[in-house]
């Protein structure tokens, strides 16, 4: 029977952690620390993120886990997690190019041609570009297989006409992953193409959408006979659904590896916030039983995410097929992040609702902003309802119903 004790931290793991930690201490400004918040404006955060992703590459951590042929740095899953943990712990900014680094890069690696990998991966790894997604449409959100943005084949080019919506951060992006209809309008998943498009192409127009947070993070992108070389199609014309599913699976499974450390930091910040906040009655909020109970629930939610993620990592390392662990990750982290920020704003009372323009806004409106933003988390990348359908049908084997 198994009776082994946990071994001491093994050499390579501790060594890599020390390397990342030393580098972070060197590159982050000395005033960087637990009270440090991301810039309060979207443009400010994007500027921070773009500068940061270049620093990550210069520091030797670009393309962690991607092949050296394309400028990446081979790394184990453990090292990638350690990098995420140390960056979260140091409150490092998030890269601006989330879609390129975390979604397109693994998708291209799996499904791209040699030429596509050589052309698109190095700039992503060097942090020189920013990608976005143009998948959803005004009339086709959750029902992604029904997209109607049209692309006609003209020689060795696609000619794209249509309208895309919910294209996060595309006003800051250079390139986009596009899903367009190349088959008959009702061909659903069989007639969709996945193409990589330069957003400076003639005929592309981007309009920002004011969001409930006060930021215009989302956009509509209008396509008017935009010409896209066939060489930019990933896999083949009409085979884009498979590529999109691969990208979406990647997007949803980022949860465990990358987000748990960041959520753990939010719990830590929440404890600190409750300690310095005076609640009604003049006592620190941290002494309020309601707040204490809520903090424990949030911390336990994050612990559950972490432990379920560890099960997935162990299963993957032992060569087991991905189990049900992955399917619950997106559902659980999005709801957990909502509960965390809801508690923060609730314990602050009316002051919690002061947004960034008010000089008394708590932490420059950080908590109010993210509380509002977290409502998007249970909607994007497959709503919580879609995730529940996936669990019910693919994991529990319940029949598909409409």
């Amino acid at each position: 029977m198994i009776t082994g004790k946990r071994a001491e931290v093994s050499g390579p793991e501790a060594g890599f952690r020390r390397e990342v930690r030393a580098w972070l201490e060197e590159v982050l400004p000395s005033d960087w620390g637990p009270r440090r918040r991301p810039a309060s404006t979207l443009a400010g955060r994007m500027k921070e993120g773009k500068a940061w992703q270049r620093m990550v590459y210069q520091g030797g951590f670009g393309g962690l886990g991607l092949p050296a042929d394309f400028g990446g740095r081979p790394a184990s899953a453990t090292e990638r997690l350690i990098f995420a943990e140390e960056c979260a712990r140091a409150r490092a900014p998030e890269p601006a190019d989330i879609f390129g680094q975390f979604i397109l890069a693994p998708t291209l690696l799996a499904l791209g041609t040699k030429e596509q990998k050589e052309r698109f991966l190095p700039p992503i790894i060097r942090g020189e570009v920013m990608w976005c997604e143009t998948f959803s449409e005004p009339d086709n959100g959750s029902d992604m297989a029904n997209i109607q943005c049209r692309a006609e084949l003209d020689g060795d080019e696609l000619v794209v006409t249509g309208r895309k919506r919910w294209n996060s951060l595309s006003q800051f992006a250079d390139w986009t992953m596009l899903l367009c209809r190349t088959g008959a309008p009702d061909s659903r998943g069989r007639g969709i193409t996945f193409a990589l498009v330069d957003l400076r192409s003639p005929g592309v127009r981007i309009e920002t959408m004011p969001m409930l947070t006060g930021d215009d993070r989302e956009t509509e992108v209008f396509w008017d006979e935009v010409r896209v070389p066939i060489a930019n199609v990933v896999s083949a014309v009409d085979d884009g659904w498979r590529v999109a599913m691969s990208a979406m699976t990647t997007q949803r499974s980022i949860g465990t590896a990358e987000l748990v450390p960041r959520l753990a930091v939010v719990v830590e910040d929440l404890v600190e916030l409750a300690t310095r906040t005076t609640a009604a009655g003049g006592r620190p909020a941290i002494e309020d039983p309601f707040v204490r109970d809520g903090i424990a629930r949030c911390a336990t939610d994050v612990a559950a995410l972490r432990r379920t993620g560890e099960r997935a990592m162990a299963a993957a390392a032992m060569g087991s097929p991905l189990g049900p662990e992955v399917s619950i990750a997106k559902l659980h982290w999005s709801e957990t992040e909502q509960r965390l920020h809801r508690l923060a704003v609730e314990l602050l009372g009316l002051r919690g609702l002061l947004i960034r323009d008010d000089e008394d806004a708590v932490d420059e409106g950080f908590w109010a902003h993210y509380w509002l933003w977290t409502h998007a988390l249970t909607i994007h990348s497959g709503t919580s309802e879609i995730q529940r359908n996936i669990i019910a049908q693919r994991v529990l084997g319940l029949p598909v119903g409409r």
């Binding site: 946990r6 432990r307 319940l398």
Partner: protein
Amino acid sequence: MAAPAVGRGTDLEDLDIPESARWAAVDAGLETMRRRVGEYLARPESFAADLWEVDARWRTDGDAWRDLCAEHGAVLGDRGRFAELGVLAEGAGRAAASIPYIGSALSALVLAAADPSALAELRGGAPGALAWAGPDEPVAVRFVGGLLNGTVAFVFDGAAAEIVVAVAEDDSGATVLCRVDDPSLVGRTTRGIADPTRDLATLTFDAVPASVLCGGTEAIGLLAELETAAAVLLALDAFGSAQAAMDLAVGYAKQRVQFGKVIGSYQAVAHHCANMFLLVENARSLARMAAWSVAWAEPGAALSAAQAKSAATENAVEVGRLAIQVHGGIGMTWARPTHVHYKRAWVDRAALGSARHQRERITTMLTEAQPRGFPPMYRTPF
């Protein structure tokens, strides 16, 4: 020490997983034991109906417990094998089994060092009980002049116990742990608790002779260990119970037809099932990890145990509620055992440090000064 073997002959050291995920790899090695314990304890779906026919009250299955002890009794009182003990807890919850594992396991932890012959009896299948109201209740038993006096309202396996260990205070108010010399002198009242699978008895000590097992700081340390162990066992029991309730509900949702379709095809029902799945998986992760943290005597074990008890029991209560809802009217009857698992989860949540008590402990641990050498953000080692 050589690295323990994990599933399929892989070496733990060679796996691409962080230090913190090793429990999950090693845990895979318990699957065979889980399956065998599960098969042994499995009850027919009609067991609740049978229970109602006979007497909807607890009766301890001493034979089953002796059988299990014949194979696994050595895990009692052996902290390093706590994860295997956890397999029994999980299996008991899943089968809603009436086996005296909680009382036996907790009293074995106390007797392990002090009383080897009593430990051997427990390992042979003699039921034990720990007369302790739990960490959220004051100690109401006094030990003065070699005699125990007082009452503990709810003692797991208290009616069946052949070995009784008591948590008491001496005349100076210091904690002492003692073994009752003659258990037949202990007054026992079986309670009519809603969960028909549990032996929860009120034990009354009226000048009952007992022998001290330990006192002083040793007793305080042991009590803290008992709190952690009890939390993890009840978390695993609740997880097993939640898994059983969910399996019943999902199975029913696949066969019950209304409006010409199985009810599991309706999104409202399907989403109840998906919610149950999320709750069960989170309970599984937290409870099993906590069991390994106890087995490995990790510094974060108390926090992991509190999180496991809090979440697994709350989740099991919610899963039970949803499972009854998915069943509709039949879920309200003894024709299906769903409500038995639900009631069991309520006991797990309330007993030996309620879920609310655990959450208070969690926040206390999160706000305490940082233990040396720990990264701040998880408060448990990487």
